[in-house]
Symmetry: none
Subunit: 217 residues, 4 copies
C-alpha cells in the first residue's frame, strides 16, 4: 500500500530532485506511521521503507519533527482543498453538515494512509517535555471552523437551539478521526457506510424538530 504524494509543481526554493525526494520520503513516513504507529516509526524504519538511510532523511528534512510537520501540513492543505468545494456546493445547514462528514470520510477513503498517519501524528507527537506538538482540542483550526459552521446555522434557525456548537464540533471530529484510527487494525472497515451513518447521526442530532424522549427524563 503505497502512498501517493504528488506535489503539484515544485515548492519554491527547491530543486526538482529535492522536491521529488522529499515526496518520496514523506510517502515512506506516511506508510510507516500508518502501519506501525507513530511511536514505532523510527527514522530507521522510515528510511528502510524509502530504501535510503537515516542520513538522507535528515539531510532533506532537518529532523524528524519537520518531516512529521510536513506530512501533517500537506494533508491539511489537501483535505481542505478536497472538502471545501463540496461543502460550499450546499446551501442548507443540514446539507453542509452532511457534506462535511461525507467529504471528509471520502477523502479518508481516497487517502487512507495519509489520513491515518496524520491522526496518529496529531494524537501522539509530543516534545521531550510531554507537551503535544499539535492542537486537537477547542483551539484547533479544524474544530474552530466546524464550530463556526454549526453556530451559524444554529443562529439562523436551521439547527435546533440549545446545543453547544463547540462540544458538537469536537464530537464530530472525534467520530471522524476515530474511523481513521480504526482503519489501522480493521482495514476492511466500510468507510462509505460509516460516512453515511455518521452524517445521518449528526443531522438528526441537530434537527430542530423536538424529539419525544419518552417518560425517562
Amino acid at each position: 500500500m503505497r502512498s501517493n504524494i504528488d506535489l503539484i509543481g515544485q515548492e519554491p526554493g527547491r530543486t526538482f530532485t529535492e522536491t521529488a525526494r522529499r515526496a518520496q520520503i514523506m510517502a515512506a513516513a506516511i506508510d510507516t506511521i500508518a502501519e506501525v504507529g507513530y511511536g514505532q516509526a523510527s527514522l530507521a524504519r522510515i528510511a528502510e521503507k524509502a530504501t535510503t538511510s537515516k542520513g538522507v532523511i535528515c539531510y532533506h528534512f532537518d529532523g524528524k519533527e519537520e518531516l512529521v510537520r510536513e506530512v501533517v501540513a500537506e494533508l491539511v492543505a489537501r483535505g481542505a482543498a478536497y472538502m471545501r468545494p463540496r461543502i460550499e456546493a450546499e446551501s442548507t445547514g443540514a446539507g453542509m453538515l452532511r457534506a462535511y462528514v461525507e467529504s471528509n470520510l471520502a477523502f479518508l477513503r481516497e487517502n487512507r494512509n495519509h489520513v491515518v498517519a496524520t491522526v496518529e501524528i496529531v494524537l501522539n507527537a509530543r516534545g521531550a517535555d510531554g507537551r503535544r506538538h499539535f492542537e486537537t482540542g477547542p483551539g484547533a483550526a479544524s474544530v474552530a471552523a466546524l464550530r463556526e459552521l454549526l453556530a451559524h446555522f444554529q443562529a439562523a434557525g436551521e439547527f435546533r437551539s440549545g446545543f453547544d456548537p463547540l462540544v458538537l464540533a469536537m464530537a464530530i471530529r472525534a467520530a471522524i478521526d476515530n474511523v481513521a484510527h480504526q482503519l489501522v487494525s480493521n482495514p476492511e472497515l466500510d468507510v462509505r457506510h460509516h460516512a453515511r451513518e455518521l452524517a445521518d447521526l449528526f443531522v438528526h442530532a441537530t434537527s430542530p424538530r423536538e424529539p419525544s424522549e419518552g417518560a425517562g427524563q
Copy 2:
C-alpha cells in the same frame, strides 16, 4: 495530582506488601502517562515518580506491558462497577443512554488521571511489530456492550430505526474518550458541561421522531 489506587482487598496469591507496592507503582505509572503521554512514559520516569528504580518495577510487574495491562484492567473494572448501577437504574432507552454518557464522564471527573492514562495506553500501546495491544474498534468489549444496549432499544422501538448501532456505539465512545484526551492539554475543560451536552446530543440523534431535514439532502 496523585492517583488513588486503592485495590479493594488483596489480590490472590500476593502478600500485603506486594499488593501495596504494585498499587504504588501503578499510581506512579498512571500519573506519569497522564502527564507526559504514553510514548514519553518510560520506566525510568515512572520509577522516578514512584521514588524507586526500574528494577523494582520489573521485579513486580514482569515488564512494562504487564504494568500497563494492569492499569487498564483496573480501570475497566472500576469503570464498570461505577457505571453499571447507574445505567441499570434507568428503565427507558433514552434514560440508559443518557446515564451511560453521564456516568462515564462523571467517572472521568472523579478519576481523571486514571482515565486519561488508560485512553493514552489503549490508543497508543503497540508491540515492536506495530500491532496494537488493545482493541478499541468494533470488537472491543466496551463498544460491543454499548452496541447491544442501542440495538436492544432500537428493536424495542424506543430508538429510531435506521441507524447502525455499531457505528453509533463507536461514535459515542470516540466522543467520550476524546474528552479524556483533551483533558491532557486542557485541564480546565468543563467535563460536566460536556457530559450534559453529549448526552443531549446522542439522545437527540436516536430519538424516533422523524426530523425535517430541509430541502438539502
Copy 3:
C-alpha cells in the same frame, strides 16, 4: 599510564560499587582525554579504555557533561589540598609566590594525566551554543585567588607597586597551564626545571628593586 583516582572514602549516598565504578570510569576518561584531547575523547573511546560500554558510563554519570565536570571538580579539590599547606607554610610574598608555582607544578608532575585532562577540558568544553562550560578568565576562582595573594603583598610593599595583580595572575596561570598543555606532545618535558624557572621568573617580575632598563624605553 593509568590514572589513579583513589577517592578517600565513599561519597555520600553512593554504594561502594558505585563509587568504585565512577572512579574507574573517571580514570579512563582522564587518560583518554589526556592522550587524544577533549574533542576526540568520545564516550565510546572512554568506554573502551574502561573496558565497558557507553551505556555503563551513562548509567553512572548521566551524561558526558557530568563525567567531565566531575573530573574537573575532583582535580580542583585535590590540587587545592596539595597546594594550600605548601603555600601557607611560607611567610613572605616571594616565598608564597614561589611555593604557588612550584607546588602547582609538583602537583602536575604527580598527577600528570589528571591535570592535562583538566586543562584540556577547561579550555575546550563548550555547549552546543559555543559558550564555554568553564571559566578560565578574570572571573575564574583560581585566578581570583592568585590575584588576591599578589594584591595583598603588593599592598604590603613586598612586591613592587605598579603592576596589575589581575594581569599577572592571568599570566602566571597561563604559563603554568601551558606546561600541562605541552606535556601532551612532549612527555619528556622537564617539569621540575620549568617549575624552578617559572618561579624565578615571576619572583623577579614582582621584585620591588627597581631594575635599570637601559636606554630603550
Copy 4:
C-alpha cells in the same frame, strides 16, 4: 564582526575568482571558529556563515584540515609582517622584548577574530588519532624565534643571566595567547592594558639588576 582577509595579490596557479572564493570561505571559518570554538565549528556552520554549502568548501579546500591550515598560515605571515619591523626598530633587548609583546597584542587588537581563531585551532586541532596538527611547544617556530632573541641579549648581558630562554619564551607566548583566548568569553577585555602590563612584566623579569628576595628563600 566580519573578518577581513585581503590576500595581497593572487596566489600562484589560482584564478582571481578562485582566490576570492577561498578568501571568503576563510573569513567565514575565522569568524565561526572565533565565535563558537574550534570543536563546534563544523563545515556546515562555516558554510552557513559563508552562505554556501559544505560541498563548495570541500571543492575549494580539499578538506577541513587544509582550510584550517591555510587560516593559520595566513595569520602567521601577516603577524610576522606586522611585528618584525616594529621589533627591529628597537636597538636594546628590553626595547625589543617590549616591542614584541606590544606589537603582538596590537596585532591581536586589529585582527581579533583571526588571532582568536588561530589560537583556537592551534591549541585544539588534532587528527583522528589524537595527535596535534600544530606544534606550540619548544619546537614551534614562534617560540624558537623568541627564544633566540632572549638568548641573544642574555649573552650580550642586557638581560640577567640565569634564566632559561626557552622557558621564558614559552611563558611569554602562553601569556600572550591567553589574552586572545580570553577574548572569546570576554570581549570587553582591555587588550591595550594587558599589552602594557605584560610588557612591563617581562621586562622586569629579565632585568639584570639583582632583586632582593627578602628572607624567605
